[in-house]
């Protein structure tokens, strides 16, 4: 047993202590296809332009980020985080202020810009449905919460984050412009009505597996994952009715070693071309308002930024203020 521990400790040490050469920039994201796309659309271009080598690390882990900042031993330079976390961490002193003399924010969607973060890409929680598995697909959040009209299991995002609580309130008839501050009692009461029929997905791949196998023929999912499923030949339908947007953000941890290069990296990553290139591959929307012009119009139509008419914006500032309180209540409710 001890040997096992020692082995594990040694492995962990080797994995975390590989030192980056001084000039290398370390970019950390969530792994999988999204990070692969970020590597091609952003990192390789950045190396071409500046000669600075970019090392990929991941997955993003808020616990690890906090440990690095507190120990003043930060090995990550640019990190892709969730928008609500970025807003909160900025206020808590975990992040460097961004240098907007290097990063041009005039073309960036202001919904996703703070002093400490800019949008990395944005996505929508949409209603995905496997058409081959059911007679009728739910079109609205109210449909998705109606187990009589639409019997069967439904997939929802497991972690405490913007998306599910908003969906519950919209389903219960709260107008989109009256969502905030969130009425948590009402939301959990609504969620209680379908709790037995929820299968939680903890990562994008799992949501695809659930829908494709019809284990849960419909659910609240990230739009990009439905694009990918459709491309792989699954007969899926996406309802954009009241799609709920949330964004990932790019941030620089407090005390990052290569701050200057990090700002340049973010400037490139949020440029019109780089954002367009990323959107092409991932199915997520660009945060640069000039990007859609650079894209195939057929493709641009399938992205969340073409669905703004019926879009509900998750309020990142509200979430930043209440992230901890909601999280505790969320997980306690789930475990009941």
């Amino acid at each position: 047993m001890k040997k096992l521990f020692a082995l594990a400790a040694a492995a962990a040490t080797i994995a975390t202590s590989m030192p980056a050469a001084a000039a290398d920039l370390v970019f950390t994201s969530w792994g999988g296809t999204t990070q692969d796309a970020q590597k091609i659309a952003w990192a390789e271009k950045f190396t071409e332009e500046t000669g600075i080598n970019v090392l990929q690390d991941g997955p993003t882990d808020y616990g690890k980020l906090k440990a690095m900042v507190e120990a003043n031993s930060v090995t990550w330079d640019v990190v892709d985080v969730e928008g609500d976390y970025a807003a909160q961490a900025g206020k808590n002193g975990m992040l460097e202020k961004l240098d907007f003399s290097v990063i041009d924010k005039s073309k960036l969607d202001p919904r996703f810009v703070t002093d400490y973060s800019v949008g990395s890409f944005y996505y929508s929680f949409v209603i995905g449905c496997n058409k081959d598995a059911v007679d009728a697909c739910p079109k609205t959040w109210a449909d998705l919460f109606d187990t009589e009209k639409f019997p069967g299991k439904r997939a929802f995002y497991k972690w405490s984050a913007p998306g599910v609580i908003e969906a519950a309130l919209l389903a219960d008839g709260v107008p989109a412009d009256k969502l905030y501050p969130l009425d948590l009692d009402r939301a959990f009461k609504k969620l209680d009505t379908i709790k037995e029929d929820i299968i939680w997905w903890s990562g994008g791949a799992q949501s695809q597996q659930l829908l494709a196998s019809a284990e849960a023929p419909f659910g609240s999912v990230w739009n990009g994952r439905m694009t990918a499923l459709a491309q792989s030949g699954i007969n899926v339908e996406t309802s954009w009715e009241q799609n709920i947007t949330a964004a990932d953000s790019l941030v620089v941890p407090k005390g990052a070693k290569n701050k200057e290069a990090a700002m340049k990296f973010i400037a490139l990553a949020t440029s019109a071309q780089a954002q367009a290139d990323l959107a092409k591959v991932t199915g997520y929307a660009p945060t640069n308002v000039d990007s859609p012009e650079l894209m195939d119009p057929e493709l641009a139509k399938t992205l969340p930024d073409a669905q703004t008419a019926n879009q509900v914006n998750a309020d990142m500032n509200y979430w930043a203020e209440n992230r901890d309180a909601i999280g505790e209540r969320w997980y306690a409710w789930q475990a009941q």
């Binding site: 020692a6 040694a10 040490t13 616990g63 903890s202 597996q209 997980y331 789930q334 009941q336």
Partner: protein, 291 residues
Amino acid sequence: MASQTETESGAAYAPLRARRPTDFDLTLPALGLLILFFVLPVAILLTRSVTEPQPGLGNYAELLGSSTYLRIFANTFIVSGLVTFVSLLIGFPVAWALAIMPSRIASIVFAILLLSMWTNLLARTYAWMVLLQRTGVINKVLIGIGLIDKPLPLVNNLTGVTIGMTYIMLPFIILPLYGVIRKIDPAILQAAALCGATRWQSLVRVLLPLAMPGMAAGALMVFVMSLGYFVTPALLGGTANMMLAELIAQFVQSLVNWGMGGAAALVLLVVTLALYAVQLRFFGTDRMGGR
């Protein structure tokens, strides 16, 4: 080392022998590594459980005073106990069969056992997900042969966790048991039969007591490993079957509340060490692993 001392210096330099490294000295590098990279970080995390957000035992009061968290503790023990029980139930016959079958066949079975252990945990867990789900192979076959008309809920609940974890834990119970059972002299069972014992009697009164050290060692190991399990319950269980390790991960990674995370980790550590002490007290280290 020994031969060198004897050929070059003979017995005249006996005092040199006193400075030979003892067993303990030899463990020092490993021990140092453990302390630096395992004990110390754990100690730091545990310290935070009594210093964050305010100094005191607030985190422990919250943890032990909440019915939600207590349910997670209880669930952790129920799942671990169930997995241990089922593993023993399946593992004992397998270990016994391994001990008495011809060694050529046994080595093939061992290869299968070990191969499953070396396959990536995540891949194995996802495989179970695909097998067990409502639209999965098992349910389709059962419906196809007419045994059931509605799919059985085999995953995202206690059943799924138990099946997935038992599968992973089986080698840890079979290997020590095999070691113990193989050492039992077959003549003893023959003697039991000669003395008039039925097959059932020789199993319950002869074989089981003799195999007890292996069963206890394996069972405790499986129970303790199950207590801290994360991936399998997270993927095959529902949120209502959450286990302690998941709760800790939530505190540390998602809520970034290290005080509570540390407190939950300490509770898990205390329970594990207590069980380990029981194991040492009753079975000793020398009997573990069946060697």
